[in-house]
């Protein structure tokens, strides 16, 4: 048993100012096993793999690699010792070729200081063939799909003779076919005795590909489970520390008055002839494949982008928003899908983030009224149960789920009548996701109309009272109640244009 262990982690503790990110974590990765690391955002997964790969140093505890003491001082040292790390956000140089990326920083040399590109190409070509890809090592990385870029990252790690490969959320931007291909590669690597540390939110994948699962919660290791002896439900309850009986709150049977009506909305090729209405107390889903035009419709309605033709009525009155400010004045909110690039002010405090939409209400004689600012912030931190060290904490230092809640808070602060939520639970942990789902239903019960845009079919099916399906910029159908099934949505999402008219 002992000699099978590749990496042994013993009592690792890491403390950041104000947070114990890891608390006495111990686990072992065996030779040739696929070991999953799961946990909610903020559970300590990233910190742990950053320690393994030498980005961070632990405050206490030790690691051994092949029975030898292992304490990498930097990522480069960990690479030399055989640890490969494929980051969630790809760390490739888009303007360089595959070969140059694989050999980045250590291109083989020939005469004097000249790089031997030929040798790099041949070696890269050899590695690419092993994965049965027909990629040309000379291709520039920017021309590759995300899946192929990931393969380049994996090859880069393998070319360094890696024995432990860390994959951080590898499937988050892959299609199903690409995911299958990746699993093929993982199986192949495993048969060659390479160990894999697999970080993912998607439990179904973890169960499909992994041998053992280590569950982290609040910086501590809860348990390491063998996949064969456990179930998804058990893992989820270990992750959140309680069992989640139902993922989705009960639906609300009767919707109220119509709040927003859209007629024949068109904008070039982005979307055409879109008509629908949003009623108070209902969750309306906008479904369809990525690129079907769902977000575009919502953004145009909320004054962020333009539309060319069509009418919008708010409480029966014709209206058109030219910018977000006007939409906010009419209490129409759009929760963006791009949390970091257009949702949050990462460098600013939680408090400052939440009040941004309510500057008018917290202003007295041109000055920010600190009392009002604080009470408003506290109110929403409580409602949304945002976990924070204080109102002044920078949003940057929050976990993904809590960041998402801060974004929701700033929109709730305007007391919206219609709330567009674009991918509101993407990339956040199970616990926060459920909390947001329950909150959405509660808002509905108070009479708000919610429009949910989601690429996750179970979320659309579990949450929505009514669903509009789009394909290639057109509305291909509307489903109500029992009709909302995976089959029906997929059929409409793939419907051809000529079928609709």
């Amino acid at each position: 048993m002992e000699d099978k262990v590749l990496l042994r982690i013993r009592n690792i503790t890491k403390i950041f100012p104000g947070v114990k990110a890891l608390d006495q974590v111990s686990l072992q990765v065996e030779v040739g096993e696929v070991h999953a690391l799961v946990g909610e955002n903020g559970a300590g997964k990233s910190t742990l793999v950053n320690i393994i790969s030498g980005v961070l140093r632990p405050d206490s505890g030790e690691m051994t690699l092949d029975q030898r003491k292992y304490a990498p001082a930097n990522p480069r040292e960990s690479q030399i010792l055989g640890i490969g790390f494929v980051h969630q956000e790809m760390a490739l140089c888009p303007h360089l070729s595959i070969a140059e990326n694989v050999f980045i920083g250590r291109l083989p040399r020939k005469l004097a200081a000249l790089a031997d590109f030929e040798k790099a190409r041949v070696e890269t070509g050899g590695l690419l063939k092993k994965f049965a890809t027909d990629l040309d090592p000379k291709t520039k990385v920017q021309e590759l799909t995300i899946a192929n870029q990931q393969i380049v990252e994996i090859i880069k790690a393998l070319s360094l003779d890696c024995r432990l490969l860390i994959l951080d959320e590898p499937t988050s931007s892959l299609t199903e076919a690409e995911t299958e291909n990746l699993f093929q590669i993982i199986t192949d690597l495993k048969s060659r005795g390479i160990s894999i540390l697999y970080i993912s939110h998607r439990l179904s994948e973890v169960f499909q590909i992994c041998d053992r699962i280590s569950v982290l919660r609040d910086g501590g290791l809860v348990k390491t489970l063998a996949v064969a002896d456990t179930s998804e439900d058990e893992v989820i309850s270990q992750m959140v520390g309680r069992s989640i009986e139902a993922f989705y709150p009960a639906k609300h049977p009767n919707a109220g008055e119509e709040i927003l009506r859209v007629e024949d909305l068109s904008c070039g090729k982005k979307f055409q002839h879109i008509s629908f209405s949003v009623r108070g107390g209902e969750i309306l889903g906008l479904s369809g494949l990525i690129g079907a035009g769902r977000s575009e419709v919502a953004r145009a309605l909320c004054g962020i982008d333009r539309y060319e033709k069509g009418q919008v009525y708010l409480y029966g009155k014709k209206i058109r928003f030219n910018n977000s400010y006007e939409a906010i004045q009419s209490k129409i909110a759009y929760l963006t899908e791009n949390r970091k690039t257009e949702g949050l002010f990462l460098k600013l405090a939680i408090k400052t983030n939440i009040v941004v939409t309510s500057l008018k209400t917290i202003t007295r004689r041109k000055l920010v009224d600190r009392g009002k600012e604080e009470s408003l912030t506290r109110k929403y931190i409580e409602i949304l149960r945002i976990k924070t060290a204080g109102l002044q904490q920078k949003v940057l230092n929050l976990s993904g789920g809590n960041q998402q809640k801060v974004m929701v808070a700033k929109w709730l602060a305007i007391n919206p009548v219609v709330l567009f939520m674009d991918e509101p639970t993407r990339g956040i942990d199970v616990g926060a996701k459920t909390e947001i789902h329950y909150l959405m239903r509660e808002l509905c019960n108070r009479g708000i109309g919610i429009v949910l845009i989601s690429s996750e079919l179970p979320e659309i099916i579990g949450m929505c009272d009514r669903v509009i399906v789009m394909n290639e910029g057109l509305k291909t159908g509307e489903l109500v109640g029992e009709e909302i099934t995976e089959e029906n949505i997929m059929r409409l999402a793939a419907a051809k244009k000529n079928k609709i008219a």
């Binding site: 990110a21 906010i328 963006t336 460098k347 400052t352 941004v356 917290i362 230092n397």
Partner: protein, 338 residues
């Protein structure tokens, strides 16, 4: 806003930990560190040269730094916005020259100064229009304005300074007078710092600058009128530059076309030393003022210690880089913290 965080940190430090830990946390506050450095420098300097602690030396140094200081106030706000204004030094010169030329052609000096102020505001508005509404890059736009304003100053003066004989005493008072022994120009500077520091922390209008500087897209989607905020900030930098130009004119009673040469660079350096970030969303007026004071103090030291003035730029540069390095090492851990 950062200062609030600092104050909280200090409070917590006092409650929970000992004096050492408290000092460690206080030093994480840029303003406090700067303040201590300035005091230390002054103490050391007064040992080396008895002339340093004389009223005459201190008030001359203070008058000298007031001009750079007022410009740095505007620059801080521009940096918080995530931009900067390279034209401030030239706009300062232009406003002095406009006022001077008008005065020489017979216009009342106060009216001339008012017109010069309008000129400076216009320069700021033009910058603001191109940056905020058209969407041009602040570097290029203000670089262009820097050249235009400087060029206009040379054209108006034919290249040589205009001396203004017989100027009204009341006008000379704002740049050269004293109230209870304090130089008026320094009092004006202190007043501007106090008002603007408060406004940047507390006013809703300037709060919006932090939002735009931190994430422009998010600010826009949250209903903030980004174009208006940007225009407003460059209006402010232009206005403060014009005020500086008029005060300098009053102080020397000479309208020099080369006034405020590279004032924009000194201002940016002082702001960054004071904790502002070129990537926006951070900075305080007090911090920038302390930065200006530190740079002025070092220059004063060089003069008193009979070091060649040519060392000034070299040492300013070294202080700037040290400040950025300090920032990097004190804040690096928080960047890695996820």
């Amino acid at each position: 806003m950062d200062r609030n965080l600092g104050e909280q940190t200090i409070k917590r430090g006092l409650e929970k930990e000992g004096m050492l830990a408290f000092l460690g946390k206080a030093f994480a506050l840029r303003e406090f560190t700067l303040f201590v450095i300035i005091i230390l420098c002054s103490v050391v300097l007064s040992f080396f040269t008895p002339h340093f602690l004389t009223g005459a030396n201190i008030s001359t140094t203070a008058i000298g730094l007031a001009a750079d200081g007022i410009i740095a106030v505007g620059m801080t706000v521009a940096l918080v916005l995530g931009g900067f204004d390279l034209s401030v030094g030239s706009v300062m010169a232009l406003s002095g020259v406009v006022a001077g030329s008008l005065y020489l052609s017979g216009v009342n000096i106060w009216l001339a100064a008012f017109v010069a102020l309008i000129f400076g505001m216009l320069c700021g508005l033009i910058n603001g229009y191109f940056i905020g509404h058209v969407g041009l890059n602040p570097f290029i736009t203000t670089l262009g304005m820097m050249s235009i304003a400087r060029g206009a100053s040379y054209v108006l003066t034919q290249g040589s300074p205009l001396s203004l004989p017989g100027i009204a005493r009341s006008f000379k008072f704002i740049g050269g007078g004293r109230i209870l022994g304090f130089p008026v120009m320094v009092l004006i500077y202190v007043l501007i710092v106090i008002i603007m520091d408060f406004a940047l922390r507390r006013s809703t209008a300037l709060r919006q600058v932090f939002y735009v500087g931190s994430n422009e897209k998010a600010a826009s989607l949250s209903g903030i009128n980004v174009s208006k905020v940007k225009t407003g900030v460059f209006f402010l930098t232009g206005t403060l530059a014009a005020i500086t130009g008029i005060l300098t004119l009053s102080r020397f009673t000479v309208a020099a076309p080369n006034a405020g040469m590279s004032a924009e660079m000194r201002a940016i350096a002082a702001c960054v030393i004071g904790g502002a970030s070129l990537s926006g969303g951070e900075g305080t007026i007090i911090g920038s003022a302390l930065g200006v004071i530190l740079l002025a103090l070092v220059n004063n030291a060089l003069i008193l210690l009979n070091v060649s003035v040519y060392w000034q730029d070299l040492i300013t540069g070294m202080i700037l880089i040290s400040a950025v390095l300090l920032d990097f090492f004190t804040h690096r851990s928080s960047f890695l913290h996820k």
